[in-house]
Structure formats: C-alpha cells, structure tokens
Symmetry: C2
Subunit: 408 residues, 2 copies
Amino acid sequence: MTDSLARELACIDCGTVHPLGYRLECEKCRGLLELRYDLDVLRARGPALLAGGGLWRYAPVLPIADPAHRVTLGEGGTPLLDCPRLSKVLGVRSLAVKFEGANPTGTVKDRSSATGVAAALQFGFTATSVVSSGNAGSSIAAYSARAGLRSLIFAYARASAPKLLHMAATTADLVLYEGVYDDLITHWDRLVESRLFFDCGASRNAYKHEGKKTIGYEIAEQSGWRPPDVVVAPVAVGETFIAAARGFREMRDAGWIPRVPRMVAAQATRANAISRAFRSGRPLEPLKIGYTVAEGLAAGNPGRKGEWVLRLLRDGRGAAGDAEDEQILEAQRTLARTEGIWAGPTGVATLAVLGKMLAAKELDPAQSYCAIVSETGLKTEAAPPSRAATAFDFDSLERLVEQRLARA
Amino acid sequence: MTDSLARELACIDCGTVHPLGYRLECEKCRGLLELRYDLDVLRARGPALLAGGGLWRYAPVLPIADPAHRVTLGEGGTPLLDCPRLSKVLGVRSLAVKFEGANPTGTVKDRSSATGVAAALQFGFTATSVVSSGNAGSSIAAYSARAGLRSLIFAYARASAPKLLHMAATTADLVLYEGVYDDLITHWDRLVESRLFFDCGASRNAYKHEGKKTIGYEIAEQSGWRPPDVVVAPVAVGETFIAAARGFREMRDAGWIPRVPRMVAAQATRANAISRAFRSGRPLEPLKIGYTVAEGLAAGNPGRKGEWVLRLLRDGRGAAGDAEDEQILEAQRTLARTEGIWAGPTGVATLAVLGKMLAAKELDPAQSYCAIVSETGLKTEAAPPSRAATAFDFDSLERLVEQRLARA
C-alpha cells in the first residue's frame, strides 16, 4: 500500500496554508482550498510511485492516509479509446474518448465519490449527503453503502426517472424536493454547517473534489506520459475541469509530463455562464436556466468554482464553448453509430462542443484531442421509483434529516 | 502484441480435430466445437505471457491471430469486489462479486462480443447478427459499429424498453419480431446457414463464445492465481458457465492454478431446465417458459450447450440451483444496500441462488465464494425507442435482411 503525499490545504485566493483536516474554506478569506502534495518526493520517485490498478493506483496524490479508508467499487482505470471513425467525421487528425461511463455507477462522479466517502471515514463521520440531479446522488449513495455509512440524498423531484430509480436503490434516504432547485442548494448548504453529515457536494469540499484529479493522471499515463495537445472537459460548476487541469499541472511540476494540454471547457448553451463570460471577456454572471438534455450540466450559478475555471482558462490559454441540445443529441447518435460508444447527453456535450468549435475554425484540426465523456447512455429514460420522501422547504428538509438520522 | 496460441478446433462429442477456421459444428457428428491452445507454451511461459490490460491481456488464450482484428471498447478488467457486509447477511465466510456491469455496454456479453466481432473481421465478414432479449443485441451492435461492420439485431418486440433503446442507438438495423420468440431463433438459424452475416449467437460459434473465458482468467489472476473454492455462474444456455469452467481447466492443465473451483450453475426458477435436470439426475427436457425478471436467463430450451453444462457439472462435482423472481429482486435490493453495487435481476440471480443454497445447507459456509454478477442495474425500465422495423415470419425477416444489406 502506498502512502499519501498530501501535506497541506492552500487557499486558492490568498494563498494561506492550513494543516490537513476537514475544512471547507480558508479561515482568513473564506476562499476555496486545494490540496498540496510533497512535490520533492513526486519528482524524485516519478511514476514508479504508483502501484495497483484503478483510482487508488494514484493514492500518493490523493488525500487519504489510511489504506483502510480507501473505499472502492472498482472506479477508475476507464478506457481511453482512440476513435478513428469519429475523428474523420469531425475532420480532426486524432481524437480519443476517455469513457467515464465505465465507472461503477456509470459516471465520472465515482472518482470524487471514492475520495469523498473515504474522507468521511477519515474524519469520523457516519453519514454523507449531496444534492443531485441524479448522477452524484446514486454515486454517493453507492459508495456510502459500500463504506457502511448512511447517505442522505436530496434530489429535485423532476430528475429523470432512471436516475431516481438508481438513487432509490442505493440509499435508504432519498428526499425529493418539490420547490425551486436553487433554493434546495441554499437550504442544504445551511445543513452542511451543522455538521450533521459529511459534505459530498461539488461546491467546496477539496477532499471530495480530489478524486477527479485521477482522470488527468490516467489520460497522461495511458498516453505514455505524453498527453494529447488538447483535452475537452465538461463544465457544470467545474469539478471535472478543475481537477483534470490541476492533475496535469501537478504532473508537469513534478516532471512526469513535458507540458500541460490545452484545456477546453464544454457547456450546454442552455447553461453557459462560464463559456459566455470567457468568450466575452466579462465577469461571470449567474443565469436563470431552464431544462437542458445535458442534465448534469444544468448549473446556472457555478459560484466560486466557476471563477476558478475562468482563472484556469485565462492563465492557461484555454478555450470554452457550448452546444445546443439538438447538437448534443446529434453527437450522442454519432458517437454510438461510429464508435459503438453509448453515452448520455451530459457525457457527449464535450464532443458536440468540439465539433462545433472545429467547424467554426476555433480549434486546430492538426492537433491531437481527448474528449472526456462523463456518463454512460444507460441512464436515459425510465419509470419513476416507487418509494421516496418529499420535502418543500428548509424546515421540512431538516425534519427529514433529523428523523432519518435518528432512525439509524 | 502477444501471439494467439490457438491451434485447433475439437469436437466436444466425438473428439475429431479440425483446423482453425469459421466452422460452427463438427463435420463428422455435428457436435459443438471448442478451441484448443498450445498447452506446452502455456505451461513453459506461465502468466508472464500476459501483457497489457482488459480482455486482450489474455490474447494468447484467445483465437484472434492478427492484433489489428482485436476490436475493443475497454471490456474486461472488471472489479472482483470482496463483499464483507453481504457475506455476513448470507452467513458465509468469504464472498467476492465479479461485477460485469462495469463492461462497456454493462454486461458480461461484451467479452464474447469482442472475440465474436474480431472473428468476423478475421474471417472477412462485413456484417454480424444476433437474436437477443436485449443485452447481447446492444453489445454486438456496439462492437460491430466499433469495427466498422454492419449489424443486424433481431429482438423480441416485448424486450424491455431500456434495452430496446440501447439497441436502437447502436445499430442502424434493429428488427423487432412480433411472433413467438422460439420461432424467431429457428428462423434465424436458417439465415446463419446462408452466410449472409457472421453468427454472433450463443448457440454454436466457438470464436464468439471464447471471449467469455477471460472471466475465469481474471478471477484467477485477481485472486493471485488461487481462485476461490466455489464460483457461481449464471446459466441461460450456458455460455458464461461453460467458458469460465473451460478457462479454469485450461489454467489448471497449464499449471497456472493448483485446482479448479467448484462450479455452481444458477438459474431462474421460471427457466430452470438445467438445474431441474441436474438435481433430479434426469435428462435435459426443454420447458415452455413465461416471463422472468431475469430476462437474460429466459431460455426454455438450452439445447446442446445445456447438455454441455450438465456434463461439466457431473464431471466436476458441481452444483445447480434456481431462484424465484421475488428472491432475485430481494437479492438485487440487498446487494445495492449492503455493498453499493447496482446490478440487474439477470445479474444477481447468482446471489439469490447462492443465498438459497446456503440457507438449505446445500453449500458449505466455510468455503470461499465468487459470484459472477453479469449485468448493471442501469438497464431496468424505460420508454420504448421510437424507431424500428418489424417482422412476423421467416419471409418478412429474410426480406428485411436482404433489403438492409442491399442498402449498405
């Protein structure tokens, strides 16, 4: 078993360094925190540090110290599939798909669920929680079950049926919210402060976020430590994008890879706050959004992580784009028919954006590309689950949480 | 790239040896054929022969000579998950789940689709075909697309909606059959004789069958070449069971493992022809069957592969059992809640049977067990696909095949 080289938490805004521990923001400025590792050891030992397969192969660059806490359902080690037929359709020299639908619950979220739930164990929590449109909910529920922890999953009542079914199967505590989704998140953030449960949300927890960094490490290692010129990552609040970019920078700083790939942020046009801000050069403005087929990208207000994405894009000569729902559905069909890969609309938004930006000559077809396809196509449509509790405001939510924890 | 050590096809009934080639049965007695490998090389080189990851790591014991034909979507390399909580529920010392839902299309079928479609390339075919209740259809369609081949997928009109959706996404040629399912298979067998397409069915093709052997190799390698005492495998016509058993025997004969695990055949009670024959000691009799939640196990007439399963069970001191639909659904819930693994009813039949046989003291709780869980839970329920052709008898089927191949 390999040791974790995590050494500290650093504020991404003011740079203040904090010791390792369960802490959601900077004590000084309330900024977001990121984990830092012992770069000297990474540099000296190189990839020979890595051992075993799947996500925990990268344990040295993950923040879980005790191997007994490293919960697993076999996540990570997903295929990086060279796609010659799709490359031809898009008119690009070389394109590989990193297919995250191969993870245990069918999404990239399993990477962050593994480190999130492992961190809940590490810090002595007995329950986890997340607000989710579906993928995160079933993933956190599954990993919590695997670790023997309770999970409290809050889902929007209009979440798609197969995702509701999956959540209902993996948690004993699914709560459907019938009010406004943004209100639910605000209410839930308040619940986090009370420390009734471990924060498995996407907005602040650096430990949970960290698991997704392994997608960058895998892309690099599967490319013989010479990653493709450009990596296209989906952006809702930006977890996957930020984590992948951080992974590439860490590897470059440690001398594992010669240079970092250029990062492209892909959004749905119906939820394009970050792409819009980046392309216009203006500050990030929250959007009131409606439905998009890319359910996992439906974030109107990406908050502080959105700002972080913009900073990474601007510092790293990145690019951003967005695609209409029809383009996303077309990309889904094209990927299935040309390469046999069946991914969900949330997953193929990167390919839709890539195709659009290539057609508009915003990207160079002579470069090599990797598109992160974040979810399986198997979560599309189904009948609603039969069992669930409902809530409609903060008080009813809190009651439910307390009742359910009391029942444990 | 590693060479294939396949050397010949041997009849499992009369022992006649045939050279490698596309041949569906013994020339002499019409018996089923199995592939044989160069055991001397396997014995001399040992597991050091293996290289790379996923299914094609086992290329030396697969029958595809040219690496260019080895089509892949990242199948194989699925997790073998130790399940301490579930072990406690079932009252058994040690239980690991081999989770095949992690394959690219969510089922164990991806293993045989990989070698089936690779063999279609190897023998110069431009189209593949299969009759399917869902899993095999979308899997063959996906691998065919990946290889640039046409696929003709014949499905029963009453197949479950998410499976129909998945098939419709991955093939341009989905044919829904509205007559009697057994008639469809008889019709289709006649089409195979005409060699319009490569046979990707489960009944005869040794090349297609062979990919599933890798599940045995993986279980052994993931157990440090000391496989568990007992392996529980699902049985419809018996592909997975036979392939796993053959893999274990091959490894024992080559000296890679000290002994073969005891094999338990798991069926749904509503389609239990093999379990019934084995337990009563009587010959295999086809059953008229109705619906079972374990859709992938709904085979009333397992045919010659069913006889092969019985022979393996009788020769190898195996065991067999079956579980009612309610027990299967209960096993599905228990697996999700205790270990976070979301599998389909077809997938968890092995666990339901294991639980039932342990409770009846037909199996020893002090032994170590591995249950093959053959499919993800993500294929449960959905709305029907919008597009598909229909057929109702042999002539209309044949017309459709010809029309569609002509359109290629």
